[in-house]
């Protein structure tokens, strides 16, 4: 079964248990959710949930139909191919020496990231972008020693009207 990457945007009622129900339908099929982000939507009382997952076509079709059956789920759309995708990442990196500090600050500029906290031995950097950009930045910093990474997971929105 070939697993493909999908980004699914759903509009759900802002009620306890919705996240659990949605996640449950994926886990039941053995699909590992790569990330899931939830937040308020443009309508009061409704949340938008963005799920990125590796799934096979037929299985995902079934999950989508099952999601549609949940009373709390209002709309579902697969926006894999035509969406702006963003993720926010916080990285705490070691500063072994002064040279490293300068280099890291340069990289931060190139990637349009921001330094949000400084200590004598570490820097905390905030970066927004798609997954590839964040992965590239993380691998650049690996050599200095990354102390912590915290990523929000993907949020996305379909392009156009």
């Amino acid at each position: 079964m070939a697993l493909e990457y999908h980004v699914i945007s759903t509009l759900v009622e802002d009620k306890p248990g919705v996240l659990q129900k949605v996640a449950g339908l994926f886990t039941r099929r053995g699909f590992n959710i790569d990330s899931i982000t939830v937040g308020e939507s443009e309508v009061e009382g409704l949340s938008r949930m963005v799920i990125s997952v590796h799934a096979d076509k037929k299985g995902l079709e079934q999950v989508t139909k099952q999601l549609n059956k949940l009373v709390d789920v209002i709309k579902i759309k697969d926006i894999t191919n035509n969406a702006v995708k963003r993720e926010l990442c916080l990285i705490k990196v070691n500063i072994p020496n002064e040279k490293a500090r300068a280099e890291i600050m340069q990289y931060t500029n190139i990637f349009r990231a921001k330094i949000v906290d400084v200590s004598e031995e570490t820097l905390m950097i905030e970066l927004t972008g798609d997954m590839e950009k964040i992965n590239a930045f993380v691998s650049l910093l690996k050599g200095y020693g990354i102390k912590k990474i915290s990523r929000t997971g993907l949020t996305a929105m379909a392009r156009g009207v």
Partner: protein
């Protein structure tokens, strides 16, 4: 008015006359309020049976069944019953007590996250945190349970919410923008169905429980007669068409009638209605109707294309779609090809009628079912347990009307037969209700003998006693070199004495003819009774082995025409 009283009032507004339940610590306030209420409460002897009884009530009547249990173990005991109702699309509302809100999440005494536990097996669930919400929640729960594809809804009521005073009784429906079942079929699709039917030379119809649930049996018969197409059913579709009708072939599937299993792949058009193509119905998928066009009509879009690839999907309520389709077929005249095909299948049905006449002692189960058939009328309700008893009943009992054959299909829950019969009898007090059980499944729920005695519910419980767990025993016999691992019940109780200890009459039956007589007098007495029928454990059904195609039955299939 307090929360518990609001539950009772709301249930009454929904037309509920009976609830099945079992009290406990967190439902004491509710039961105190029930003490003065004019609503019928049946005290079952195990919560699981409350859910099964509510389910049987719902299936027999088409109305929503209601069951009630306390928090924690009471609620978890409902789970099997809720799962059973979920798999078979049966509308029940399960109400559970919950520990007071301020204790939820503290591992309080008898606390269980029943909302979380039942999440995958309910259609929806609510936990009112304010007594004012109760009337709306009860009303909306009934609405969700019975509309669209029906299913169970859970309402988990914390103790202090049962006791709290309402400031107002507002039962307006809760807005559910995400819940819009499609009932009306797309007319363009229905027109395409008409065209496929007109082109077909060898049409067959496969009817499932959806036909019964949507009350589409008249429309189904009309379609079958218009296009002269024989009708097969799933297990739960039994009764969608009168099985004594020439056009009715009987059940399809792993334990189906040979005529259905042999014929389905010869058809060039299969019209599947209100059915989910369970693996027990289809056998191996790649040899299921490989060269047949399939029209699939179902109210649940998630069922379409799930198991069987479909040429023409129609999402909608079976009754609605079929009546539109029938109108479009007003000018249809069956071609010679169709009539020839239909006649050939009808003849095949006669040629392949399974043999039911035996004089053997120990009794063959077929004989027992046959004698039961002879006594019961089309109005009688037959419930079954799960296992061989169920398949014998399904295979050898001709169901003539909808809602008269009640069985746990999807979940296959042992212990369903007897309590569901209690619910069915409460729903239809004028109809004879017989439950067919094995000795294994009956022992799981035999405590309900106390319930039928207590409330004088004249259910006739038939126990086919073979001292084995027959279905697994059969698989072991056929497929596992007769290694009967843990399927011999050995020292079973004396079922007659068991029933008598509850004050329920019982008869032991060992010879041909005795079942018929015992059943006749049981119906006349109108008292709860147990018929302990000793049957041959080595009587095996023909079946599809797992992984086999639909037309690859194994086992000896004895025919009525071969009787000397």
């Amino acid at each position: 008015m307090r929360g518990g009283e609001a539950i009772i009032e709301s249930l009454k507004n929904m037309g509920v006359d009976t609830i099945f339940g079992y009290p406990g610590g967190q439902t004491i306030p509710f039961y105190d309020m029930l003490y003065d209420a004019d609503i019928n409460h049946i005290l079952v002897r195990h919560e699981q049976c409350a859910a099964h009884a509510a389910d049987g009530y719902a299936r027999a009547s088409g109305k929503v069944g209601v069951c009630l249990a306390t928090s924690g173990p009471g609620a978890t005991n409902l789970v099997t019953g809720i799962g059973t109702a979920f798999m078979d699309s049966s509308p029940i509302v399960a109400i559970t007590g919950q520990v007071p809100t301020h204790l939820i999440g503290n591992d309080a005494f008898q606390e269980a996250d029943i909302i979380g536990i039942t999440m995958p097996i309910v259609k929806h669930s609510y936990q009112p945190k304010d007594p004012d919400l109760i009337p709306s929640i009860v009303k909306t729960s009934f609405e969700i349970a019975r509309t669209g594809r029906p299913g169970p809804v859970l309402i988990d009521v914390p103790k202090e919410v049962q006791e709290g005073e309402l400031t107002k009784f507002d039962d307006s429906l809760i807005q559910t923008p995400g819940y819009n079942p499609t009932t009306k079929g797309n007319i363009r699709q229905i027109k395409k169905a008409r065209d496929l039917i007109k082109e077909a030379k060898r049409p067959l119809i496969l009817a499932g429980a959806g036909v019964i649930i949507s009350n589409a049996c008249y429309e189904l018969k009309k379609l079958a007669y218009t296009i002269n197409a024989p009708v097969m059913t799933s297990l739960l579709g039994k009764g969608a068409i009168d099985e004594t009708d020439d056009l009715a072939l009987g059940m399809l599937g792993m334990h189906g009638r040979k005529v259905s299993n042999d014929s389905i792949n010869e058809s060039d058009l299969l019209i599947a209605i209100g059915i989910r193509f369970s693996d027990r119905t289809t056998g191996r998928l790649d040899s299921f109707v490989p060269d047949t066009k399939v029209i699939h009509i179902d109210i649940d879009p998630a069922e379409i294309g799930k198991n069987v690839d479909v040429d023409l999907p129609i999402v909608g309520d079976a009754r609605n779609v079929l009546s539109s389709l029938n109108k479009l077929l007003n000018d249809y005249k069956a071609s010679d090809d169709v009539n020839k095909w239909s006649d050939m299948i009808k003849q095949r049905k006669q040629d392949l009628l399974p043999r039911v006449t035996y004089d053997d002692v120990p009794l063959k189960p077929q004989t027992v079912i046959k004698e039961i058939s002879e006594v019961l009328t089309p109005e009688s309700i037959l419930t079954t347990d799960v296992g061989q008893n169920q398949m014998w009943a399904a295979h050898f009992y001709d169901t003539q009307k909808p809602r008269k054959f009640i069985s746990s299909g999807g979940l296959g829950t042992m212990g369903f037969g007897f309590p569901s019969a209690i619910g069915a009898k409460i729903a239809c007090p004028d109809d004879t209700v017989v439950s067919i059980n094995g000795d294994g499944g009956f022992l799981m729920v035999c405590q309900e003998l106390a319930t039928v005695r207590e409330y004088d519910i004249p259910v006739i419980a038939v126990v086919l006693e073979n001292r084995t767990l027959g279905m697994v025993y059969q698989w072991q016999s056929l497929l596992y070199n007769e290694r009967h691992s843990q399927t011999l019940l050995g020292n079973s109780p004396d079922f007659v004495k068991l029933a008598e200890s509850f004050g329920v009459n019982a008869v032991r039956i060992t010879k041909p003819g005795e079942t018929r007589e015992a059943l006749k007098s049981a119906i006349k007495d109108n008292e709860p009774i147990l018929l302990d029928v000793v049957v041959n454990p080595d009587e095996l059904l023909p079946m599809l082995p797992p992984g086999a195609g639909i037309n690859e039955m194994i086992g000896e299939y004895k025919l009525e025409k071969d009787v000397i």
